[in-house]
């Protein structure tokens, strides 16, 4: 302790510096910069002299985040060489140098003056470069962001057959650009926030004014502003802070990587949150029905799309209930199966050492493991694992008499059905609940399944996502909207938007108000 105290205490700590304004003297600026960016090897600080009488200037940026050509051509070159083009012949005496530089000399398209270290640091961190001039407590920040990023690719886990193939990537601006390209109205608002005490991550909230209810927009902004965390690396960080009920399995916001899907949702009055560095967009409020819809529905002709949606409904229920129904039927309710089928099942179960429930549990757990293993494996090994897992284990287990064939069929069918569910979040929920149903069916048969189903439904009806009931429009029932759930309503009759409390413009076609812009 004494050792530290005895040190000459001329330099303030970086924490103190950061909350102060930028000093006027360039020497002081330089020393404070050194304090702030001590041990930061990627910082570039270039000092130079320009004009007449000589004025000292300083340029700060992070290597790798900026476009150096642009800095050279648009900032340094005009300052150092082209300053003579001013009619003052380089004589800067008694002039407001910084204002001249800003308005007359340097030429980046995006230029802004900042007065505090706090903002300056954030801007540099985002890839801007800062120009500081001796004698002025202000930094000029030029937008020179440019870095290597992943191109726009087709999203892997939301594959569509028809429709746009573009997906978001990790750069926020590209993402907002993709949205803006699709919605050109000036009512499309993109509000920006900075979250994360250390990461200083850009977060944007976008919505269409007049369609998204104002109260909801305010509420979302309030909740997002309330977040105080050291870092935001993905949208899920935000999601967990802002959802209504954080003790439930059910996802109350939708994750998507597809700008077209976001736009479709925005047009229904939803709000989207994007985070710099994450390709996943959050769309909220999200209700249960979003689990079983996919953007493809709206890009396909409505008749096949409706039939596919019915198929998906069936698959959803199958993946949720099939194993438990099977266990319930063969352990409690034998009267439900035709005699011939029962005899076949009985014959295949003859000699199986485990109770049906244990058998189902083992196979289900095995299947989940295979699925999880398949996700994390390198692509080259994936097929090998699925062959070993599905074919060899399944077949060998039956041959060895450890499990019965119908159970393998049931588990495999459930597995296939669970892949039909379009949303990964939804299929996670289904996978977890399936085990709950399985336990219940082993304990009480259909009664148990019914009890769990009622509990799950009770939980679901009691949920709401930003004021929207989770099961809307099924409960509370909205007959006008329900037709778009069971089938895909053709566009030509799809005259109104799904109702949201406080929505001002529900009309989609015809005599609706002009949306302006």
């Amino acid at each position: 302790m004494r050792y530290i105290k005895n040190k000459p205490e001329s330099k303030p700590s970086p924490q103190e510096v950061i909350h102060t304004d930028i000093p006027a003297s360039l020497d002081e600026i330089r020393s404070q910069l050194d304090t702030l960016y001590q041990f930061c090897s990627d910082i570039v600080i270039r000092e130079f002299v320009f004009g007449n009488p000589e004025t000292r200037g300083l340029m700060v940026y992070f290597d790798g985040l900026v476009n150096k050509d642009e800095i050279e051509n648009n900032i340094l070159r005009p300052l150092l060489l082209d300053i003579d083009m001013l009619d003052v012949k380089g004589d800067l005496t008694h002039r407001d140098i910084i204002n001249d530089v800003k308005t007359r000399i340097i030429s980046p398209a995006e230029l802004k003056g900042v007065k505090t270290w706090d903002e300056l640091i954030r801007r540099i961190g985002s890839g801007d470069c800062a120009l500081l001039i001796d004698g002025y407590g202000e930094g000029l920040v030029a937008g020179t962001r440019s870095w290597q990023s992943r191109g726009i690719e087709s999203p892997d886990n939301e594959v569509v057959i028809f429709g746009p193939k573009e997906g978001f990537n990790e750069t926020l601006r590209f993402n907002t650009a993709q949205l803006r390209r699709r919605i050109k109205s000036s009512n499309f608002k993109i509000e920006s926030f900075v979250l994360g005490r250390i990461t200083k991550t850009d977060v944007i909230i976008c919505y269409i004014k007049n369609i998204a209810p104002d109260s909801m927009v305010e509420e979302v902004k309030k909740r997002v502003n309330g977040i105080d965390i050291d870092g935001i690396l993905d949208t899920n960080y935000i999601k967990e802070f802002i959802i209504d009920d954080n003790k439930t399995l059910f996802s109350q916001v939708m994750h998507t990587e597809r700008p077209d899907r976001v736009c479709g949702q925005l047009l229904e009055g939803k709000i989207c949150i994007l985070v710099d560095g994450s390709p996943m967009a959050l769309v909220l409020p999200s209700t249960f029905t979003d689990y079983i819809t996919t953007p493809d529905d709206y890009y396909t002709y409505y008749i096949p799309a409706s039939l596919l949606r019915l198929l998906r409904f069936t698959a959803f229920w199958m993946s949720l209930l099939l194993p438990s129904l099977y266990v319930a039927v063969i352990t409690y309710h034998h009267e439900m199966i035709p005699t011939a089928l029962l005899l076949t099942i009985a014959a295949s179960r003859e000699g199986v050492p485990f109770p049906s429930f244990v058998e189902a549990l083992l196979l289900e757990a095995m299947f989940e493991m295979l699925r999880e293993a398949g996700l994390r494996l390198p692509r080259a090994v994936g097929p090998a694992v699925s062959i070993v897992g599905a074919l060899i284990i399944g077949d060998a287990a039956v041959r060895a008499g450890l499990v019965s064939t119908p159970m393998v069929v049931v588990v495999a069918a459930t597995g296939i059905a669970s892949f039909v569910t379009p949303s990964y979040n939804a299929s996670l929920v289904v996978r977890i609940l399936r085990f709950g149903f399985l336990f219940a069916s082993a304990v009480l048969g259909f009664l148990g399944i019914m009890i769990v189903l009622v509990i799950v439904l009770l939980k679901m009806v009691s949920l709401s996502s930003f004021g929207v009931p989770y099961l809307a429009p099924l409960a509370p029932l909205n007959l006008a909207q329900i037709s778009d759930i069971m089938v895909r309503r053709p566009w030509f009759v799809n005259r109104s938007r799904p109702y949201l409390e406080g929505m001002r413009n529900q009309q989609r076609q015809g005599n609706g108000k002009d949306e302006g812009g």
Binding site: L343, R349, R399, T405, L444
Partner: protein
């Protein structure tokens, strides 16, 4: 959780009952025989071995005790719900059906749609032995259900009776049940189960039988039945000239009417016939003969129905449900007469009217012409 697993049965610990049979032994005990199928796992090569049927017997003072007595030498629990045939031994039927009717009604594990048969001439053990030998159907008890249904469509001899119908007819005044009968005949060294006649029940006891002709008449009197029945008529005096027709559809209606203070039954039967075959070289199936063909068919059906009525009235068992019909259409009259129905039924007059329409033929429009 306390009440959980209350009736959990793994199916490989259970025996799926196909049939159960009840009879009265000579010592006054009820015998209960259940047939189940031994599940045979599919072999690796995919070929299925013939499934094996096993019968298990228990005895006791009552039906339930007899059924449960099986557990003294059988280790699996029975799943009764899949039993779709019930055989009742002749001895039991002659003694008293009330020995088992409460059991059949009250037990929640039994299906009300189970088909009931009477076993006559042989014991239920014999018929089970014969059933267990037959390997061609998935299980032979199911084969018998199919047998009576096919027979009804093709021949129209015997009317199947479900468990619940049997109970209803025992309980409802003004109608008595009649059960199809099964027996075993020897064919070489093989036993074969055949349907043979119907047993007539009165006051919960078996009192007599209907022969095949009477059974056919009984079949035509069922208002529920809509299909089936083979009619072969003699065309002329020569024994070689016959016409065979099939009843594709019929409706049957019985209405009571009072005439001169006496109860009469008017029975209307409407049939649609299909011409099946000509025997002999007469060209019978020509338009000019249609009326006569229809007339002969009508007479044939009339005769069968009449013989059934006569037999029922002789046995004084209202298997035709005339009492019930009277109660429905002449409630006032029924109220007065219900108590004396036993005396009234044998002398109720009947008027049978049959209307046949010959409306279709097979592939050929004419009779076969010989050179």
């Amino acid at each position: 959780m306390l009440g959980s697993c209350y009736d959990l049965h793994e199916i490989n610990d259970a025996a799926i009952a196909q049939n159960f049979s009840l009879d009265l032994l000579e010592n006054g005990q009820v015998a209960f025989l259940a047939q189940t199928t031994q599940p045979v796992p599919r072999s690796e090569t995919g070929e299925t071995q013939p499934s094996q049927n096993i019968s298990v017997m228990g005895t006791g003072r009552t039906a339930a005790e007899a059924a449960r007595g099986m557990f003294l030498h059988f280790s699996r629990l029975f799943l009764w719900i899949h039993a779709n045939t019930l055989f009742i031994g002749e001895n039991l039927a002659r003694q008293d059906l009330t020995l088992i009717s409460d059991f059949l009604m009250r037990n929640r594990n039994l299906r009300f749609q189970t088909c009931v048969y009477l076993v006559c001439g042989v014991s239920i053990q014999d018929i089970h032995k014969a059933m267990n030998e037959r390997g061609f159907a998935i299980t032979s008890a199911r084969g018998i259900t199919q047998q009576i249904e096919t027979q009804a469509e093709e021949l129209g001899y015997y009317t199947p009776l479900a468990n619940i119908e049997l109970l209803e007819r025992m309980l409802t005044p003004g109608i008595e049940p009649a059960l199809p009968q099964l027996t075993v005949i020897k064919e070489g060294d093989k036993d074969r189960i055949v349907l043979q006649g119907m047993g007539v029940i009165k006051n919960n006891r078996l009192i007599g039988k209907l022969n095949p002709e009477q059974s056919q008449g009984y079949y035509y009197l069922q208002s529920k039945k809509k299909q089936g029945g083979l009619i072969s008529i003699a065309w002329s005096d020569s024994p070689n000239a016959m016409a065979v027709m099939h009843c594709t559809q019929f409706t049957s209606n019985t209405r009571p009417f009072i005439q001169e203070g006496k109860l009469n039954m008017k029975i209307d039967i409407k049939c649609e016939l299909q011409y099946l075959e000509t025997i002999g070289d007469d060209n019978i199936y020509v338009p000019a003969n249609q009326q006569r063909l229809e007339y002969l068919a009508e007479e044939k059906i009339k005769q069968q129905v009449r013989s059934c009525i006569i037999q029922a009235q002789q046995l004084n068992s209202d298997i035709l449900g005339w009492g019930l019909t009277t109660a429905r259409y002449q409630p006032g009259w029924w109220e007065d007469m219900a108590a004396q129905w036993d005396q009234v039924f044998p002398v109720v007059g009947s008027q049978v009217e049959v209307e046949c329409i010959l409306c279709s033929d097979g592939l050929s429009r004419e009779s076969f012409r010989f050179n």
